[in-house]
């Protein structure tokens, strides 16, 4: 592996974005959706998640280490490209560009979100429905959260498309076109799940 560290890191980046980070994203958005069933349902679900055994280990290896490896290496990737959508305004080139923009927005959003919830929890705050309701009482934060969530779901769905190409699963133009539609549907569906949960706190 010595001679091809870059190849290894790029493939690891691609894999970690889907497993475990992408899987965790879906789980997180689904648990959030309990908010649409009322305060009690959300608090019960959040309490179940935070009382899982080995919580710190799970968080470290399923969330933080893969997430921040993916994020930091991703920023490096984003800044080594020279975007040219003005000259080559093809659909896939736009997706390439938006993938890099959404990645940076997602990193800012997620870092803020981790600070506001998980770090505060570690400092003794209780993470529950009223905490989120307080945060989202500010209309600026509602916009920030909606942009953050939509950017995250876009980055995941479009990243899934690239994952399929990078691992050589979708090779033919036809399979890549169909996976474009499938991942677009995933983007819409996950955005609905995420945004509905945000609106439930208001």
């Amino acid at each position: 592996m010595a001679g091809n560290r870059e190849f290894f890191y790029r493939r690891l980046h691609s894999l970690l974005g889907v497993i475990p980070v992408g899987v965790f994203l879906i789980q997180h958005l689904v648990v959030n959706h309990f908010a649409t069933r009322g305060e009690q349902a959300f608090n019960d679900a959040a309490h179940f998640m935070e009382s899982l055994p080995f919580r710190i280990v799970l968080e470290l290896f399923i969330i933080f280490i893969p997430l921040y490896f993916h994020a930091i290496y991703g920023v490096y990737i984003a800044f080594t490209s020279k975007n040219n959508v003005n000259q080559y305004s093809y659909f896939r080139n736009w997706m390439f560009y938006l993938q890099r923009i959404s990645g940076v927005i997602t990193l800012i959003f997620v870092t803020w979100h981790v600070w506001e919830t998980r770090i505060q929890a570690a400092l003794g705050e209780e993470v529950n429905f009223s905490m989120m309701a307080d945060i989202l009482a500010n209309p600026f934060m509602v916009v920030f959260y909606i942009i953050g969530v939509v950017s995250t779901t876009f980055h995941f769905a479009n990243g899934l498309w690239s994952f399929l190409v990078s691992w050589g699963i979708t090779m033919s133009p036809r399979s890549q076109r169909i996976s474009t539609y499938v991942t677009l549907a995933i983007f819409v569906a996950l955005s609905y799940v995420g945004v509905a949960a945000i609106l439930a706190f208001i």
Partner: protein, 255 residues
Amino acid sequence: MSETENITFIIKRQDDPESSSYEETFHVPYRQNMNVISALMEIRRNPVNSNGEDTTPVYWDMGCLEEVCGACSMKINGKPRQSCTALVDQLEQPIRLEPMSTFPVMRDLAVDRSRMFDALKKVKAWVPIDGTHDLGPGPRMAENKRQWAYELSKCMTCGVCLEACPNVNSKSDFIGPAAISQVRLFNSHPTGAMNKNERLEALMGEGGLAECGNSQNCVQSCPKGIPLTTSIASMNRETALHSFKSFFGSDHEVN
């Protein structure tokens, strides 16, 4: 009469690799069916710019004049393509000519595409048959496979795919789509396949396949219609399998 039949060219010029670039405008008398090269030849015959001043003739690279050698690539109205097949009648005027920006400019519109040939050497884009004795005929190739491989063999190393690629730039050492597709071509050749792992390992090296970001500009821009992104995805699969086999395999991977 010829006064009204002038074509205006705005050309980005540069005197040598070190000096800075400047723009110069030329009016070229229109002739029927002229292409960009015939206009450049006219400027060379009569190097006078739009202000009526004598200037140096514009320099460019060319070879076959029928879009098979790849030498005359340049940016024409912002898009990289071959100047031999760029017909003046089909271009918006004034016609802007610039050298491709991914490559070092040698003079005016001529660039140095050495990095592409270095990439071909790096991935061993050939079939090694030289030896001390006659190796005899190689395995036969199915006709349908030959026809398919012919499409990949149309690559003329023109540089348009590298110019269009957002990941080929001064901040990265990505070898670009052309060389990756050549690995697919030579790995599918019955004799070339005997060295396929060497090529895959070269693709997995620095500046290799992994630097592709799937913007797919290459396949949209290739003048020969080579399925570059299919080649890239195919090599993604081959290198993934190769890396699994060599890591988890029981012994040195032979085939």
